[in-house]
């Protein structure tokens, strides 16, 4: 069973990334929208998971968060950064980390994330990159 994130996780990740406190981020987050975005990777169709593999769930989580923009009054850069941090936590919570050991990996991944946010790339392209560049975390 894939472990998911909830709104409390989302707010904490946003606090960490934005350097703000819990009360301020809670007051300015559209919590129902964040909740819907966090659930979307786990949607089912006819009893089957719509987005089965973990990498696909992570890609759908990213694209949904950048589209729904639950952080009220924030700019695009904040939404992208927090959405990516949610992807990283979703993967790690399920025993995987993104391997960025190749010199070009951070740039490649960032370019891909921007492309998905701007609708240039489909979620599947990000999912494929993550699938090829994620590795089980040590000790799992």
């Amino acid at each position: 069973v894939t472990e998911s994130l909830d709104v409390a996780d989302f707010v904490l990740i946003a606090c960490e990334e934005l350097g703000e406190n819990v009360d301020d981020v809670t007051a300015t987050t559209a919590l129902p929208i964040a909740h819907l975005a966090l659930l979307r990777p786990f949607e089912q169709i006819g009893g089957e998971e719509a987005f089965g593999p973990l990498a696909m769930k992570a890609a759908v989580l990213y694209s949904t968060l950048v589209r729904y923009q639950p952080l009220t009054g924030r700019g695009t850069a904040d939404h992208r950064a927090v959405a990516f941090r949610c992807v990283a936590e979703l993967l790690e919570r399920n025993g995987f980390a993104i391997d960025l050991s190749a010199e070009s990996s951070p740039e490649d991944l960032a370019r891909l994330l921007v492309g998905v946010a701007e609708g240039i790339h489909e979620d599947e392209v990000l999912a494929q990159w993550l699938h090829e560049n994620m590795a089980p975390k040590a000790g799992r």
């Binding site: 904490l12 990740i13 007051a27 992208r80 936590e89």
Partner: protein, 78 residues
Amino acid sequence: VDEEVTVERYRTMSIRLPQDLADLLEAIARADDKSMAEEVREAVAAHVRKRAKDTRLRERLEDQAVRYRRVVERLREA
């Protein structure tokens, strides 16, 4: 004369609650002499603060901030 303007960043939203939970929320708000919206905001913040005490999660997030710093920097520059 400069006028100091305070902007509170709030977003208005409606939520659906089961009748018994809505009654309970109303009763608590009345007893606390607060609005139901205040009670909901405080409940959510309390839930998040409770989660924030999960030191493993906090440490993991701090570790991720370091490991994925280059990706986030480039995302913010784009």
